[in-house]
């Protein structure tokens, strides 16, 4: 094997910097809570700075809600709820269609803001996050006046006031996944964006104003864990939806015990990406890269365990390692960046800790050589081989650009190893044989199975986990059920 594949060769043709311009982003210096259709100062909350994790520069000050803010928000939402539910279905739909179209119109601004606030490459926010968010609103707008077809019932009714908590890895997209179905079903919603990424949700609030959405129908209440905990435990909430870590999901489920409040949870994962010997190998390698390095691996359904058939192990690892060297890590606002910043100092610490554990436990670590910018939070794409199924890096969710490779000999062994996890969010299957793809898909205990692809999302395709990856589905008609009650 030639040596040039192991190391980076000297650059003949360097791409010049291609930074997306930020001058059209209208950032305010401070953002209040979005309650009853307007921005307000917090009652017992406080203002906190939100930073750009690629530069550590302050972007804006954002109000975090305190317990009294939560109570006040619920009150205004409660009073807006009956009128919203009483609107003719198509009228409600038209508000959601407006929001979808406005997201499309302001997509560039939203993409830049998402990248600045969260650290993900602009190419991803521009080409994946924002378009999918618009599509999600458009799709659910169309269900609003067709609910009885969606859930096969003659009469349905909304639940009322829903509390929704979303994470920092796909801030606007997760907000769309939560708000769109909730509103379509006639509920009003109180959304708590993540601590480190409130900005696009606040811009979405402006979009709601532009769409003339009746005040109180959507409330945006940024905050930290305490704000979320207050929302979960508050009186007057008819349903909770949460996307985030399994640890917090567990707390929420426990907090709601005995209350009768319905809850849906979309939690962590340690998804297996299974490559068979009869896979289209070059495309499988792309799928592995996409599966774990997309969004720096900050993806609940990331393919963080690579299960490769032993007969093609060497070939796949060689191709994968070589391909990893083409990943461009750097300024997320540069249009050519593939791997952006880690979302926070905290998350970086966690990744480093688990990677150290991997080395300590005896796995072999390879990290691509690349220059890490001086400021900001960064972690270079990393590959672990000689991983045993019991290693921490094979069991625990790292939520970073780190892939652990394990091998298998037969189809049955692949299934067993893939299912041997407390999680069950997603899986990838790479084989050119259709019948194998379908049998393995059927056997895997995972809510989303990608065959010969990975990390594809669509508003029509239900998404959610098995086991400790959560319960409830988002997307498609299945995404309506958690948000309504079937009367008959």
């Amino acid at each position: 094997m030639s040596s040039s594949v192991e190391t980076r060769t000297s650059i003949v043709w360097d791409y010049a910097p291609a930074p997306e311009s930020v001058d059209h982003v209208r950032l305010k210096d401070r953002y209040g809570l979005f309650v009853d259709g307007e921005f307000r100062d917090p009652i017992d909350g406080r203002y906190v700075s939100t930073i750009n994790p690629a530069t550590e520069d302050r972007l804006a000050d954002v109000a975090f809600g305190g317990p009294e803010d939560v109570t006040a928000a619920i009150q205004t939402a409660r009073s807006a709820a009956p009128k919203w539910a009483a609107l003719a279905d198509l009228e409600r739909a038209k508000y959601l269609f407006r929001i979808a179209r406005l997201i499309q119109e302001r997509s560039r601004e939203l993409a830049v803001l998402e990248t600045m606030d969260g650290g993900k490459p602009l190419r991803e926010s521009r080409d994946t996050d924002i378009p999918l968010a618009a599509a999600h609103f458009f799709h659910y707008a169309g269900w609003t006046d067709k609910l009885h077809y969606g859930v096969n019932a003659r009469e349905v009714e909304p639940l009322g006031v829903v509390g929704q908590i979303v994470p920092w890895n796909f801030p606007l997209l997760m907000a769309a996944w939560k708000l769109a179905p909730a509103l379509a079903c006639g509920n009003v919603a109180i959304l708590k964006p993540a601590e480190t990424t409130p900005l696009t949700a606040l811009l979405l609030a402006e979009i709601c104003q532009e769409a003339e959405l009746p005040p109180g129908v959507v409330t945006i209440l940024p905050g930290d864990g305490a704000t979320g905990a207050a929302l979960v435990r508050a009186d007057g909430i008819d349903k909770i939806a949460f996307t985030g870590s399994t640890a917090v999901g567990r707390d929420i489920q426990a907090a709601l015990a005995g209350t009768g409040t319905p809850v849906t949870l979309e939690l962590g994962g340690k998804s297996a990406n299974v490559v068979f010997e009869d896979a289209a190998l070059d495309q499988a390698v792309e799928g592995i890269v996409n599966g774990i390095f997309f969004n720096q691996g900050h993806v609940c359904c990331a393919g963080s365990r690579l299960l490769v058939q032993e007969s093609v192990r060497d070939e796949v690892i060689a191709k994968l390692w070589q391909r990893m060297h083409r990943l461009r890590l750097g300024d997320p606002l540069d249009k050519n960046t593939d791997v952006g910043a880690i979302n926070s100092a905290e998350q970086l610490e966690r990744i480093e800790m688990l990677v150290a554990a991997g080395v300590q436990e005896g796995a072999s670590r390879r990290t691509i050589e690349c220059e890490l910018p001086e400021r900001g939070y960064w972690f270079a794409p990393t590959l672990f081989t000689d991983v045993s199924p019991a290693h921490r890096i094979a069991v625990e969710e790292i939520f970073g650009p780190v892939v652990s490779v394990l091998t298998f000999r037969t189809q049955a062994e692949a299934i067993e190893k893939a299912n041997n996890s407390r999680y069950g969010l997603a899986a990838g299957i790479w084989t050119d044989k259709g019948s194998k793809a379908f049998e393995v898909a059927r056997a895997l205990k995972a809510g989303v199975v990608w065959q010969n692809t990975y990390n594809h999302f669509d508003p029509t395709a239900a998404f959610g986990g098995y086991k400790e990856s959560g319960f409830g589905r988002e997307g498609g008609p299945a995404g309506l059920r958690p948000y309504l009650r079937v009367v008959r």
């Binding site: 000297s10 910097p17 291609a18 289209a280 050519n336």
Partner: protein, 295 residues
């Protein structure tokens, strides 16, 4: 013998090729890319109406594409039919630009093997530095891999010192699996370059086709240590398309492959678009077709 085709997933290939088309090539990188692309051109004329006069004009253009922008290099080669090789050779004397000739009954290749070999000999005798042959799609689609390879070996032998480019005519092969397989057959039979298309079929060097062939070249080099070059022909008609192909080369094979020894682009109209885009990076103005001579 049962033919075992490699597994290539079309959706995955096209996604990756399209993603690489989103690379943003600006300012200095764009200028450098354009200069590289020009240096890799096989400036081509393959028309029934070609005459010595037309070929001489094309040669002059290829040697000095833009007198007002002296930093623009000469093209790599001029590509013509065998009957015009002598004219081209003479016009290109002492310029460093190579004379390439199509052969073997280009473009359809539906003539006897003897006729293909005579065609090759004629081109070589007239002074061709490079021969662009077509594989027998008739043999390939009938599953006769051995015959496909034997023809290539025979042509290579007649080509002597001339470099042999083997045209797969990917539009006629029907699938990426076939493109990959044909690439391997050609390389194993001794091709110096593999080339996507004749430029006369419905489609040519689409991004997906280029990616599949580049991956085949990479794997072959890995396995045997032998470097086979890549030529994209057909459908590369804009500067943006040319740069996209260079990005595919760079991110599949690496920077050391960005040389006309290993990469060629077969085209005619793209040259003026490359020049217009180059001028724009200097002046900031969108150009018009009159800004550069048409041969």
């Amino acid at each position: 013998m049962i033919r075992r085709l490699p597994h290539v997933d079309r959706v995955g290939v096209e996604e990756r090729a399209a993603q690489l088309g989103k690379r943003s090539i600006k300012t200095t990188a764009k200028q450098q890319g354009i200069r590289m692309a020009v240096s890799m051109l096989d400036l081509t004329t393959l028309e029934g109406a070609d005459t010595a006069g037309k070929v001489r004009h094309l040669c002059a253009k290829g040697v000095c594409p833009a007198p007002t922008m002296p930093e623009i290099p000469s093209v790599a080669a001029i590509c013509v039919y065998p009957s015009l090789v002598a004219t081209a050779k003479q016009a290109l004397e002492n310029t460093g630009v190579k004379t390439a000739s199509v052969a073997t009954g280009f473009p359809a290749g539906q003539i006897s093997l003897e006729a293909k070999l005579r065609d090759t000999e004629d081109a070589v005798a007239a002074g061709a530095d490079e021969i662009d042959m077509v594989i027998s799609r008739e043999a390939f689609l009938a599953g006769e891999d051995t015959r496909v390879q034997q023809e290539i070996i025979a042509v290579k032998e007649r080509a002597g010192d001339a470099h042999l480019k083997v045209i797969l005519e990917t539009a006629e092969l029907g699938s990426y699996d076939h493109v990959r397989h044909a690439s391997m057959l050609a390389m194993e039979a001794g091709a110096d370059f593999i080339k996507t298309s004749t430029g006369k079929a419905a489609s040519g060097a689409t991004p997906g086709v280029c990616l599949v062939m580049l991956e085949a070249i990479r794997d072959y080099a890995e396995r045997t240590g032998r470097t086979v070059g890549f030529k994209a022909a057909g459908g590369v008609s804009t500067s943006k398309a040319a740069l996209h192909r260079l990005v595919l080369v760079k991110e599949t094979l690496g920077d050391e492959w960005l040389t006309s020894e290993r990469v060629r682009i077969g085209a005619s109209s793209v040259l003026n678009d490359l020049l217009m885009q180059y001028a724009k990076t200097d002046t900031g103005r969108y150009g018009r077709s009159e800004d550069f001579s048409k041969e």
